[in-house]
């Protein structure tokens, strides 16, 4: 009997069709990977199984959990099913737990709701479960609150809640997307271990082919509310019958064409020398001032003309703080930053506006990067504020036209508002805004992290092409090692405010020296490695 079988599932929300003809099966002890880009309907499929669909939803077809058809169950029976027969893990561990209850109570609640045992017995089960998911008693007593825990630890609590009654089916919706790679590897290990030992079926939903490639027994590829292809993982990847599977695969593994290698120049475009950034911490109490937190600790490196340098590290390592320091958004506590040999900012001294025009930035969030009340014309010309006599009239139009054309848009887009563009187009506009004053360096702060893989591949191509043609240098900041590997010449690895390793990209990834780099590389799911591995 399969842990989950879905046949002919159709779903519409407020008359708008979201899913059609979904067929999926999952056996106990197996992992089903559901892969798709945003809007593919993969989360809605999961919520259909949980029967936690938004208001105005209407579904038909058949969903069977452990052989029991959901269409025959009333709300009361569904409540009994949720948590007991099916457990679910969500994407955002930071908000998935109730902030005002202890972790012990929250895990115990699953037990109490379904079995009516006493609070003490339920807490004993909770204790076992927390131990099981790697939160041992001495460091994680039951009376801890969620805010005491990190994201990875919170995700473990969510998992403990979901498996407390050993359900036959576990649904995990992007369980590691919000986590760092090393934490991601640990959580994925934990989930696989649970599946094998407890004989659960796991439906693992993700946008990242590499994550499921190494884990899943079977895979379903979804696109616009349909399963375009499904079957055993190795078979799917080997044959890639459907064109969308092929497209998704090539976009995930995409490496843009890079032209010539940059020549080291006499004067580097950017030189960061012994830079220190301290943060004032809130006082411990009224009388004790805490020492400042050193977010960037004596960091130094150079970027040459046309060179693309990657900066990788996990959240909190100081890479964004360093980016802000380079962009002269914050004052330094030590060291010096030079652009083309001129000091942009040094300890105790503010930024120099003229030099600032030589570097620009592209941020991660394509939705938050633009003032929603301005037109594209005004948005892309904002950097002209840095120039003493900015272009006007015809010249201004020419510059706008050129910047928009460079990024694959047209001059007619200049009079539109930002909400008329998709995420990928917005990132193009952000690049146009950076290009318009012809900078020497662009800082790309997680610039492709929020994009779907197919869009990401296009933006990476655009960036590579612009760098070649305009002799642009990039500082490419990302938590995603595979993207950095695809587009950079050199990589810096940052941990706890310091650069722990630096080297030629391919070299460094093939042969990491520092233990931290080794851990990062090992934890990063790799599509090629997963497919090359011999069949079990």
């Amino acid at each position: 009997m399969s842990a989950l079988s879905i046949s002919n599932l159709k779903l519409d929300i407020h008359g708008h069709t979201v899913l059609h003809d979904i067929d999926l099966t999952l056996d106990p002890g197996k992992i089903l990977g559901v892969v798709g880009e945003s809007g593919s309907g993969k989360s809605m499929t999961a919520l259909s199984v949980m029967q936690l669909l938004p208001r105005g939803s209407n579904w038909s077809g058949e969903i069977r959990v452990g052989g029991v058809s959901l269409s025959g169950l009333d709300e009361k029976a569904l409540c009994q099913m949720r948590g007991r027969d099916v457990g679910m893990i969500f994407q955002e561990p930071m908000t998935a737990l109730n902030p005002v209850h202890t972790i012990g109570d929250q895990v115990a609640e699953t037990v109490r709701v379904h079995t009516g045992v006493s609070r003490r017995e339920a807490l004993a089960v909770a204790r076992d479960m927390l131990n099981r998911v790697g939160l041992p008693e001495d460091r994680f007593p039951l009376d801890r609150y969620p805010h005491d825990l990190s994201g990875g630890q919170r995700q473990r609590v969510v998992i403990a809640q979901a498996i407390a009654l050993r359900p036959k089916l576990l649904i995990a919706d992007e369980p590691t997307t919000a986590l760092d790679v090393t934490t991601q590897a640990q959580i994925l290990d934990l989930l696989t271990g649970l599946v094998r030992e407890e004989d659960m079926g796991l439906m693992l939903i993700t946008h990242d082919l590499a994550v499921v490639a190494g884990l899943a027994d079977t895979i379903a590829i979804m696109k616009q509310g349909e399963v375009v292809e499904a079957g055993p993982t190795r078979e799917i990847f080997r044959e890639m019958r459907h064109p969308y599977t092929r497209a998704l695969f090539s976009a995930s593994a995409h490496v843009p064409d890079r032209g010539r290698k940059p020549e080291p120049s006499a004067v580097p475009v950017l030189s960061v020398d012994n830079v220190v950034r301290d943060y004032q911490q809130p006082r411990r109490n009224l009388f004790v001032k805490r020492p400042p937190f050193r977010a960037v600790d004596r960091v130094g490196f150079e970027i040459h003309h046309g060179e693309n340098v990657g900066l990788v590290g996990e959240s909190g390592c100081g890479k964004s703080t360093l980016a802000r320091a380079i962009l002269a958004l914050d004052a330094l506590q030590g060291g010096e930053i030079r652009l083309n040999g001129h000091v942009v900012s040094s300890a105790g001294e503010g930024p120099h506006p003229e030099l600032r025009a030589r570097m620009q930035v592209v941020f991660q969030d394509p939705y938050g990067s633009f003032n929603p009340r301005h037109r594209v014309r005004r948005l892309v010309t904002e950097p002209f504020h840095l120039i003493k006599s900015p272009p006007t009239g015809k010249e201004l139009d020419r510059r706008i036209d050129r910047a928009l054309t460079e990024v694959g848009l047209s001059f007619s887009d200049a009079d539109k508002y930002i909400h008329e563009f998709s995420g990928g187009q917005r990132q193009r506009i952000a690049i146009a805004r950076a290009l318009i004053i012809e900078p020497a360096l662009i800082v790309l702060d997680e610039a492709v992290s929020a994009l779907d893989v197919s869009i990401r591949a296009q933006i990476l191509d655009l960036l590579a092409e612009l760098s070649d043609r305009l002799d642009l240098s990039y500082l490419f900041i990302s938590h995603d090692l595979s993207v950095v590997r695809a587009i950079t010449d050199r990589v810096l690895v940052m941990k706890d405010g310091r650069i722990v390793e630096e080297g030629e990209t391919e070299n460094l990834f093939r042969n990491p020296q520092h233990p931290y780099t080794q851990a990062l590389v090992a934890a990063t799911p790799s599509l090629q490695a997963a497919l090359a591995a011999p069949a079990e």
């Binding site: 948590g83 902030p99 005002v100």
Partner: protein, 316 residues
């Protein structure tokens, strides 16, 4: 936790000092010579000199402020010019009406608002929700003193269930005294209950949309179990702020409502003092009310810490 309390306590003390300074400046410095202000233009020079001496007006300003505050700390508000009795006596009598009235109204407001807000949020867009929203929309728009007059017209004059005003005193027994405060408390409470119910509703609706509510449902809790166990306590946190603010509105509103019902509370006292230009009484009542508001704000902060474990994080 202690650090949080200590910080709140320090900010409480600073607020008290700042408030007393503001009141001192407005009531003692701005009028120029408070004594001649109180006695009017045709004052008898002898009486003027006596009052100046009594108020210590010949002292330098900082010393006058310190003397005043030192007196306040010992419960000495000075002597009323018109009544010729210590202000503390006048006030303590009247507080026994104004404070119970405020608390009575606050209790009523909360008792009405919570169920209304919870039902409206739990059954969003239902008939119950729409009627709660309609009733509160109207309730917010009604001036409490007008509502008080209408209550008098209906329940005192026409139906004769209550007396139209006055207060028998607490000596007459708890029942009659409470009965005399009932119409005023209802008049004060209903408009505030409307506000509170709306805040409760929207706070609860926001909480119901949180990720952890979906987690709770995924664990197998029914809609109402999830609401009671997970949503309510989180939704209460912003509501506490409004309850704190309402205390000051009710206290101030009470001053006006006392006028409608001829209750001998702080409100009556202060309006009489204004017409008689008795600045000593006015400033005493004002500082008392302001202190009450600040202390309640402090209590709300404590309630916050009890409701929200994130504020207690410096525990370890």
């Amino acid at each position: 936790m202690t650090a949080y309390l200590l910080r709140r306590f320090l900010s409480l003390s600073l607020s008290l000092v700042a408030a007393s300074l503001v009141i001192f400046l407005v009531m003692e410095v701005v009028p120029g010579d408070p004594a001649s202000f109180m006695l009017g233009i045709n004052a008898d020079p002898g009486a003027l000199a006596a009052l100046r001496l009594q108020m210590g007006l010949d002292e330098p300003l900082p010393l006058r402020y310190i003397t005043w505050v030192a007196g306040l700390l010992q419960g000495d508000f000075g002597v009323s010019y018109t009544y010729r009795v210590p202000v503390s006596e006048l006030i303590s009598e009247r507080v026994m009406i104004s404070l119970p009235l405020t608390l009575y109204a606050l209790a009523l407001s909360t008792l009405i608002a919570f169920p209304a807000g919870i039902i409206a949020a739990a059954r969003r867009n239902s008939a119950a929700d729409l009627s709660v929203m309609g009733a509160t929309q109207l309730g917010v728009a009604i001036p409490n003193f007008w509502f008080a007059m209408i209550l008098v017209l209906i329940f005192a004059i026409n139906l004769r269930w209550f007396s139209a005003g006055g207060f028998p005193g607490w000596d007459a027994g708890f029942g009659p005294a409470l009965k005399a405060l009932t119409l005023p408390a209802i008049a004060l409470a209903l408009p505030q209950a409307s506000i509170l119910a709306r805040v409760m509703r929207s706070s609860l609706i926001d909480t119901l949309d949180e990720d952890f509510m979906r987690t709770a449902r995924a664990k197998g809790l029914s809609r109402s179990q999830a609401l009671w166990r997970h949503a309510l306590r989180n939704a209460l946190i912003p509501v506490l702020t409004i309850i704190g603010l309402q205390f000051s509105f009710l206290l101030a509103g009470g001053i006006i409502i006392e006028n409608v019902f001829y209750l001998p509370g702080l409100g009556r006292l202060v309006f009489q003092a204004i017409t008689q230009r008795d600045l000593i009484v006015v400033r005493s009542v004002v500082i008392l009310l302001v202190f009450a508001v600040i202390v309640v704000t402090f209590l709300v902060d404590l309630a916050y810490a009890a409701a929200d474990p994130r504020l207690r994080r410096q525990r370890r």
